[in-house]
């Protein structure tokens, strides 16, 4: 298509948008509602993902050592732990330090460990896991492997916590994806109906264009652009509303909901993907109607 054709497509698309302004306004409103829901879930997903990630960073596997290991045996074990894929950091925690930590954690209830006499805690290595390994099955696999290493008495980690984190993350991911698909289909449906109305209102013009030798591409071009513009407008409106609500939230609510870093708004890349994704849905919706109409 020549440059002049593209200008023609865009100007015709604008004319179409103006001609059916009420229908198109309704379509933009409905699309923005759907995209607002998508945006809300994306916002929740991104913030939860980062919260889950941060919680994942705190996930540790405690590797308890057998009594009486020599320095060489401890160093060998340290090397083996560090060599495992998924291990970010290994810290040695001598038994005296472990007792001090326990005491500080039991502040106010020191009586519980008063009668222990000798320090019953073993020396241990605290193993930090990489974020990508912070998943229940993988941690369990690592823990099992560590327990087989020579010199290891026992292994423990926050099993329940890891399981909970994993299932919350899965729920958000798959639930969000299912909802996004559902809303995506509804956007396609809305655009398809809106473009169909435009097609019927310009049926005479389309028929004439066919008679004077217009190709299918020339006829459908303005309608496809109209569909893209409607969906992108709806998406942009949704992002605008979401941003307005987000930044208008009282700070104490934000702090209550957030982690130490605060709540994050959608990153620029996600905003761009949302708008372009909206445009793609608009293109699909318009293509469905135009394809049927021209048949």
């Amino acid at each position: 298509m020549k440059g002049y054709g593209l200008i023609y497509f865009i100007s015709e698309a604008f004319r179409g948008l103006r001609a059916n302004s009420l229908v198109n306004l309704l379509a933009v409103g409905t699309i923005s509602m759907a995209m607002l829901i998508v945006g809300f879930f994306l916002l929740a997903f991104i913030n939860l993902q980062s919260a889950v990630g941060r919680a994942g960073d705190r996930l540790e596997i405690s590797v308890y050592l057998k009594e009486g290991l020599s320095l060489q045996e401890k160093d060998y074990l340290l090397l083996r732990l560090k060599a495992e894929p998924g291990v970010k950091k290994v810290t040695y925690l001598p038994k005296a330090e472990a007792l001090a930590v326990l005491k500080s954690e039991l502040k106010g209830q020191e009586a519980l460990i008063q009668g222990l006499g000798e320090n019953p805690l073993p020396d241990s290595y605290e193993v930090n896991i990489e974020r990508r390994f912070a998943e229940a099955d993988r941690i369990e696999g690592l823990a099992k492997k560590f327990s087989g290493f020579p010199g290891v008495e026992d292994v423990s980690y926050g099993k329940e916590g890891a399981r909970l984190l994993t299932s919350v993350f899965k729920l958000i991911t798959y639930g969000g994806m299912a909802l996004a698909c559902l809303l995506g289909v509804s956007v396609v449906f809305i655009i398809s109906n809106s473009v169909r109305l435009a097609l019927y209102s310009r049926g005479q013009e389309i028929e004439l264009m066919q008679w004077i030798g217009a190709t299918r591409g020339f006829i459908q071009g303005p309608f496809l652009i109209e569909g893209i513009m409607l969906a992108m407008l709806g998406s942009a409106l949704a992002i605008g509303v979401l941003a307005a609500v987000f930044y208008a939230l009282p700070q104490d609510v934000v702090l209550f909901l957030s982690s130490p870093n605060g709540l994050d708004f959608l990153p620029v890349s996600v905003v761009a993907y949302m708008t372009l994704g909206g445009g793609l849905l608009g293109l699909i919706g318009a293509q469905v109607s135009v394809g049927k109409f021209l048949e």
């Binding site: 298509m1 020549k2 002049y4 054709g5 023609y8 005479q204 013009e205 028929e207 004439l208 264009m209 066919q210 008679w211 004077i212 030798g213 217009a214 190709t215 299918r216 020339f218």
Partner: protein, 238 residues
């Protein structure tokens, strides 16, 4: 240039055209006449690839239209202008924009669109009204604009389906005069009409149809007159 061989077309089992065969040479002017329901419009639609014949073959400029894919039909149509009884002008566009659309469709550049649209409007005497919209024009004027649109891409063939059906006798005469001028410059013209008076006056080849069949083809008469007129035009030229 155009050859039809045993063309048959059915609508819901009822034949609209029955074994229609004839050929039209380059530069010919042909009237297709007959009563309503004779099959004139169907014939023109088939020539324009707006309808498909159920049987037979059509060759236009060496191309068998049965073998054309749907994506190549627009390119065939760009070599054929079509004039409708109801003009089919876009009411919200100006006269100029209606003509320009036919040029935009073929991808003509902006400057060429301006130049050619103005030239063709001048040719049909509508240049002074190019900024008006069709509803502000008389029927005759609208039909002249429609003819201009059909001519703007310099088609090899001009097809017209009852072009004077909605016009008063004077406007009808003007339109036919326009067709004659176009034909004398080499464009093949095929007009479906039941305006017998004009047909007789014009003295061109007349194909008469009845109930979907060609009942008469006055080929020789038409050819003789066309040759006389074309010779006259050539001798007049400096």
């Amino acid at each position: 240039m155009i050859q039809l061989y045993r063309i048959t077309k059915y609508y819901e089992g009822i034949p609209a055209l029955r074994e229609v065969s004839f050929s039209v040479e380059k530069g010919e002017f042909v009237f297709v006449t007959g009563p309503s329901g004779a099959g004139k419009s169907t014939l023109l639609k088939i020539l324009f690839c707006a309808e498909h014949a159920d049987e037979g073959q059509i060759i236009i400029q060496g191309m068998n239209t049965f073998r054309l894919t749907s994506s190549s039909i627009p390119y065939l149509r760009r070599n054929m202008g079509f004039v409708f009884q109801d003009y089919k002008l876009l009411p919200h566009k100006t006269v100029f924009e209606n003509i320009a659309l036919a040029l935009k469709v073929v991808g003509a550049p902006y400057g060429e669109i301006q130049r050619r649209a103005y030239q063709v409007l001048k040719k049909v005497g509508m240049d002074s009204k190019m900024h008006l919209t069709p509803p502000k024009l008389s029927g005759g004027e609208q039909q002249r604009v429609a003819v201009a649109r059909a001519l703007v891409n310099e088609p090899l063939v001009l097809l017209a389906d009852e072009p004077t059906g909605n016009l008063d006798p004077q406007s009808g005469q003007d339109v036919f005069r326009l067709f004659r001028d176009i034909n004398m410059k080499g464009t093949t013209v095929i007009v479906a009409t039941h305006d017998w008076e004009t047909v007789r006056k014009m003295q061109r080849r007349i194909i008469t149809m009845e109930r979907g069949r060609v009942t008469d083809d006055g080929r020789q008469v038409g050819k003789r007159i066309e040759k006389q007129e074309q010779r006259a035009v050539i001798t007049k030229q400096p």
